[in-house]
């Protein structure tokens, strides 16, 4: 556990030094520009536009950070041969992988928290009435990040280049949001194709389970009532199990790799 923590701590530090905060500066600039634009274009819905734009930007930046950090996580260390330094120490490959994974998660969560604070401050300046549903949306985003990070780490070792890993992960992100529509399309197929379509539907990660951003209008009590605690706990478990599967498969590839 101590070793995993040490690796995670090192990963967070590495990410903060390298890229994350440049993206955050860009986020702040973007959000301020959006404020100027929406105050002119949004009419009476300026606050709604600002809220949605900020939340969408937080999610997109978090996605980009997660994908790029996760994909380059092991690949870069293998290419630079710095992984030798770590693996020659009394550290198993599983510990290394899990440590790195948690490190990325913490770094991305830190950036999400920073972006959210900036976004909330701006909303409050615009006389936004504080809503608990905002935190619920950010909380569910955390599980999306957990899932996509696991998938990205898996693809980083499964495929041969960083570009293909990024493409695969990004494709899964889109597919994961489109699952409900795919289910609808699947129901239109003939009976022979319906079973493979159903299997595929159950296999790909369903990001709509965590997409409460699109339902923020309902407000926290209704959102909680609609989602219900049973569903929320199952969805959290789903994210945990799915990420574990990804890490397990990644570890299989890593353990068979010869350095």
């Amino acid at each position: 556990m101590k070793k995993i923590f040490a690796i995670s701590y090192y990963t967070v530090k590495e990410n903060i030094r390298n890229k994350i905060f440049y993206v955050l500066i860009f986020f702040v600039l973007l959000i301020f520009l959006a404020t100027l634009l929406f105050s002119v274009l949004g009419g009476e819905q300026e606050l709604r536009l600002l809220l949605d734009f900020g939340l969408a930007a937080i999610e997109l930046f978090a996605l980009l950070l997660t994908i790029f950090a996760s994909v380059t996580l092991v690949l870069e260390e293998i290419e630079n041969k710095t992984i030798y330094l770590l693996l020659t120490r009394p550290l198993s490959r599983v510990e290394y992988l899990v440590g790195r994974y948690f490190g990325i998660l913490f770094a991305v969560y830190l950036s999400i928290a920073t972006m959210s604070i900036g976004h909330i401050s701006l909303l409050l300046l615009k006389k936004w009435s504080f809503e608990l549903s905002y935190f619920f949306v950010i909380f569910s985003l955390g599980f999306k990040v957990m899932l996509i990070s696991g998938i990205a780490v898996f693809f980083s070792l499964f495929s041969t280049s960083a570009i293909s890993s990024i493409s695969f992960t990004f494709f899964f992100w889109l597919l994961g949001h489109f699952t409900e529509e795919l289910k609808f399309l699947g129901s239109k197929l003939n009976i022979f194709w319906q079973y493979p379509a159903k299997f595929f539907f159950y296999l790909i990660p369903n990001f709509q389970y965590f997409n409460f951003r699109d339902r923020i209008q309902l407000g926290f009590p209704l959102l909680l009532k609609e989602a219900n605690m049973n569903f929320i706990s199952l969805a959290i478990l789903y994210a945990l199990v799915y990420s574990t599967v990804c890490l397990f498969l990644t570890n299989l590839f890593l353990s068979r790799k010869e350095f």
């Binding site: 949004g42 536009l49 949001h177 409900e180 529509e181 296999l203 709509q208 923020i216």
Partner: protein
């Protein structure tokens, strides 16, 4: 040897867990959105031509964001004079009175918005108000409100607007005004509906009531309404002493 048996068993166990979890999640999950074909068919049509934008919003899981972009399009469309008509070359029957502020695409634009985001209450109210009272097309307004009621059965304000529009159709203006008075009490009432009520008051020579509504419009977040309210308040203030003395 043992390891190679353990691995497939673990994979099967973990994958099985995902499938079981998915099975239970499906039972508790509700996806209350119209399917993308309903939106894309509408947005890719000749009137709008934004199928790709709407589809990308659905694929990225950002329906609300794209609904907002469409909302800006609607405001720009409804806020600018109509200069050309896309149907012109096809001999569309609507062409003859196009340009006179009929805004025939308002309905399809609103339908695009509310199918992307069925919880966008303000869009339903705004467009229904515009269609019923400004453009005199209550049938279209009713269509939008019925879609709103179907998507949000617990949001009772749609029923209030619907009743007001039906009274308008039946020429029962007094009853309609009572319902509009009820509607403007709520914070999510579009300024446009307040303006409609203020104008009705003015026509009925109820200048003081009209002034009260205009003073409320003055707090709108939309600058165009604030400017209009300032102008009308000055106008009414000039009229009021004459009325009192007269």
């Amino acid at each position: 040897m043992i390891t190679w048996i353990k691995i497939p068993i673990t994979v099967i166990f973990l994958m099985g867990s995902i499938f079981i979890l998915q099975f239970f999640l499906r039972k508790n999950f509700s996806y209350n959105y119209p399917f993308f074909t309903e939106i894309v068919n509408l947005s890719a049509s000749k009137e709008t031509g934004y199928g790709l934008l709407d589809l990308s919003g659905i694929i990225f899981g950002m329906r609300r964001m794209v609904a907002n972009i469409t909302w800006i399009q609607l405001l720009q469309y409804y806020g600018t004079p109509e200069v050309e008509h896309e149907h012109k070359e096809n001999g569309c029957p609507l062409c003859k009175d196009y340009g006179g502020g009929k805004y025939y695409d308002l309905l399809s634009l609103t339908q695009r918005i509310v199918r992307l985001d069925p919880y966008f209450y303000y869009a339903y109210l705004y467009s229904a108000g515009a269609l019923a009272w400004n453009l005199n097309r209550p049938e279209e307004a009713i269509l939008i409100l019925k879609e709103g009621i179907h998507n949000n059965p617990k949001y009772w304000r749609f029923r209030l607007y619907l009743a007001a529009i039906i009274y308008k159709q039946l020429n029962k203006f007094d009853k309609m005004v009572v319902l509009l008075e009820e509607a403007v009490k709520y914070s999510d009432c579009p300024s446009m509906v307040k303006v409609i009520l203020a104008n009705i008051y003015e026509k009925q020579n109820r200048y003081l009531d009209s002034l009260k509504i205009w003073l409320e419009v003055l707090t709108s977040k939309d600058e165009s309404y604030r400017l209009l309210a300032e102008k009308k308040i000055l106008e009414l203030k000039r009229r009021l002493p004459q009325i009192k003395t007269g």
